[in-house]
Every structure is written in structure tokens, then in C-alpha cells.
């Protein structure tokens, strides 16, 4: 699937993804020449179909996670199926702490939000958010950073 700006005869590039939370998806593409934008809107089963392929419209900001399809799509999952090799830190960064380069700390609020993620996917979600934050040069995870990551990465249901 590619989008061609017919007047410019240019392939449009991915610009933005939005997930309103009702199972639909909006992906915006922009013409690099005239900057005209168009949005691709998918209905819930089209969104599910794409998600079932394990692909992200617009490309991936972080690599596909192990068992991503199973962990995000299985209904009736066993909550204690996984032990995460990379468990959340026991304590959040205290105010005034300086983040170590390449390391990521989690605020208390962000850990609380993470706790609300079903345990079957929690470890994977944590890793996705952490990879994204490091890629963005972010040293501390906050609920706002999680919201941005969720939108930009297209993490429906996370």
C-alpha cells in the first residue's frame, strides 16, 4: 500500500497516527512536495486485520516485540503466564535525581499507570515505552510520555 500525490507524482510519506480508542485508526500521510495531507481512516475490523498481521501503518518506531500479537489480542489470557526478565524498578526516581545517560527512570505516576495494564502484556508494554523513550532521548517516564508513546506507536489497547 502506498499513497501517491497525483498532481505532484510523489509518494506521500507517513506523518502521524491517531488511535481514538474505538477500534478505529487514522493515519496521516503528507506529500513531500506540496505538503498536501490525506488521512487514511480504518474501521474496527480493518484495524484488527492490520494488527493481526503484526504490522504498523506508517512503520515501526520500535521493533516488533516477542509475542506481540498474542499478548495484545488474546482474550481470556492467563494473568500470571509471564515472569518479566526486565521487571519494573522497585522505586521511582526521587525528585532531583539526575537520569543516567541511556537509563530510564519511571515516575511514581507512570508506575501506577503501568500497574493498570493487564499483567499479561505489562512487561511488553513497559519495554515498548522504555525503548521509545530512550530513542527520543527521554530520561524519565511520566504518564504524559506514555500517552505520547501510545499515540505515536499506535498501541491500541495499551
Amino acid at each position: 500500500m502506498k499513497f501517491l500525490c497525483v498532481p505532484c507524482d510523489e509518494v506521500m510519506t507517513f506523518a502521524e497516527r491517531q488511535i481514538p480508542g474505538d477500534g478505529t485508526l487514522a493515519a496521516v500521510f503528507r506529500c513531500p512536495s506540496c505538503e498536501r495531507e490525506m488521512a487514511m481512516l480504518t474501521n474496527p475490523y480493518e484495524t484488527q486485520l492490520v494488527s493481526g498481521l503484526g504490522i504498523k501503518i506508517g512503520g515501526r518506531a520500535v521493533p516488533e516485540q516477542p509475542m506481540e500479537i498474542l499478548r495484545t489480542s488474546l482474550d481470556g489470557a492467563r494473568p500470571d503466564a509471564f515472569v518479566e526478565a526486565d521487571a519494573p524498578p522497585a522505586a521511582a526516581t526521587l525528585a532531583g535525581d539526575v537520569p543516567i545517560a541511556g537509563r530510564l527512570t519511571w515516575s511514581v505516576d507512570s508506575l501506577e499507570r503501568l500497574e493498570r495494564v493487564p499483567s499479561f502484556v505489562r512487561g511488553m508494554v513497559k519495554r515498548i515505552y522504555a525503548d521509545w523513550a530512550r530513542e527520543q532521548g527521554i530520561g524519565e517516564m511520566t504518564p504524559e510520555v506514555m500517552s505520547r508513546a501510545r499515540t505515536e506507536l499506535g498501541l491500541e489497547g495499551m
Binding site: 502506498k2 509518494v11 493515519a27 475490523y45 484488527q48 504498523k56 516488533e64 516477542p66 489480542s73 488474546l74
Partner: protein, 295 residues
Amino acid sequence: MRQIRTYNEVGPGGPTIPEQVAAQGDRLAARLKDIRWVVGIASGKGGVGKSALTANLAAALASDGLRVGALDADLNGPSLGRMLGVVGARMVSGEHGIEPPTAATGVRVISMELFQEGDDAPLRWHGPESDGWVWRNVLETGTLRELISDVVWGELDVLLVDVAPGTDRIGRLLDLVPDPAALLLVTTPSGMARRVVARSVRLVREARVRKVGLVENMTSWECPDCGAQTELYEPAGPDLSGQDGIEQWGAVPFDPRLARSTDEGTPFVLSHPEAPAALAIRGLAAHLLGKLEAE
């Protein structure tokens, strides 16, 4: 009419779907590289004893010193986890994948039973309540891919794949693992089973699977009092190991203790090593190994 350039003419760009699919293929290939032989255990027909055979074959091969993995590819009716005694095990999830639980036999096992809550959980997915027919098969194929590529199998001599009933499921396995080292087709002597399995024989022949062996299961029953052998089925239907068919690699007699032992999570080949069915499975394991080593 104006000329609009085609997909292939416009060059790179767009949503990178082919690149992402290629990356999935690369992950699958990388994982399979550490596995010497992938062997499918299939039929086309349900209820012929594929899973019990897979569990016992895995235990027999492992007890011979091979590094064995067992993948339950029957997503809707999983049973290998229970048969190999790993139900309830927790899996370590890391950056490189999921560590499969190791059964007492040393077999590394992955089954949907490990991911679902409760013994009676049907396979269901989050998603729109209607139009499931549009996306359900895609999710199942994607999940099966993950069960191979996202599991840290480590270096294995053999990965046995218990294929779900249905000829199409054999095709699904071949889509993911196009060149398995061997495929066992399991049947019973009944005409109905043989007719269904004949379709699988044709499919694997057309797919040019390198080594295909027929296993006839539940061939006979031995009276525990007098030792007399009785055929459970009057052999009927096509002769699958005939001139146009495939070589028969094994025949396993019926033994009610096999189902009982395997259901309890103890492979029959270990709990009743001298029973005729156990000896037949061990013979099949040796035959399979001989075929695999004869590259």
C-alpha cells in the same frame, strides 16, 4: 486517460508494510536456524491421536539424548502442555523472546494452554464483535508464527510440531516452515480417516515435502487376559502406503493406558516402557531418527 504510476514504478516509500513483513520472515528464519530438524505431525483428520503421539515421540527422542522441542500448533484445541506436564508453568519473557517451560522429560514445550486462563477457555480474541471472519484467521496465523519465532527454543535437534486437524493447517505450517525435515501423517485404519488423510498425502506430495511417513495409529487391541490381538477397525479406504502413496514408518496398537497416562502428564513411553504401544512409538522414533540422519 491519465497515466498513474504503479506500485512498483513509484519506488520506495509509503507505510513500509513489505519491509515489516520481511522483518518477520527474518526473525522466523533466524529462530529456525538453531533447530536442526523441524518435524510436523499432522493428519488432516481429527481424533486420530496426533497429540498423544507427539508427546510420546518427544519423550522417546529426549530420553535418547536428543534436544527436543514440542510446539502445539493446535491453537483451538491445545493439549500438549497437559500431556507433557507443563500446564501452569510461568514463562520468562525477555527482550529476545519467551523461554518455554521444560518438561520433566527435558522437552521444551509451547502450547496455547500456557497462555490461557482455565482449562475450558475457548480461543477468543479482542476485537470487533462482528465480522470476525475477516480477521480471525490472520490472527491465528500471526500467533502461530510467533509461537515459532518468538520462543527462545535454543539449539534443538528436533522441533516436533503438532498440527491441528484440517488439511489447510498443514498448508499453514508449510507457509511458515516451507522445508520441514519430515512430516508424519497419522491415520487410523478406518476408511473415513484414510480418505481424509489421502487429501493430506496429495497436499504434501504437491508441496514436495522431502520426507513423509505414514503412521497408522490404534491398529489393534491386545486382550489383557489372553493376549489375543483384535483389530479395532476393519481396514478400509485407500491404501495410503500403496504404490502412489507414502512409506509407512510405524503402526501403534491401541492401549487405553496410553490415553490415561498421557492425560495425566506422564508420557506412556516412560510410564509403561514395555507395553507394545510404547515399544511401537520407540520404534517409530528410531525410524524417524534414521530417516532424518540419512540426509
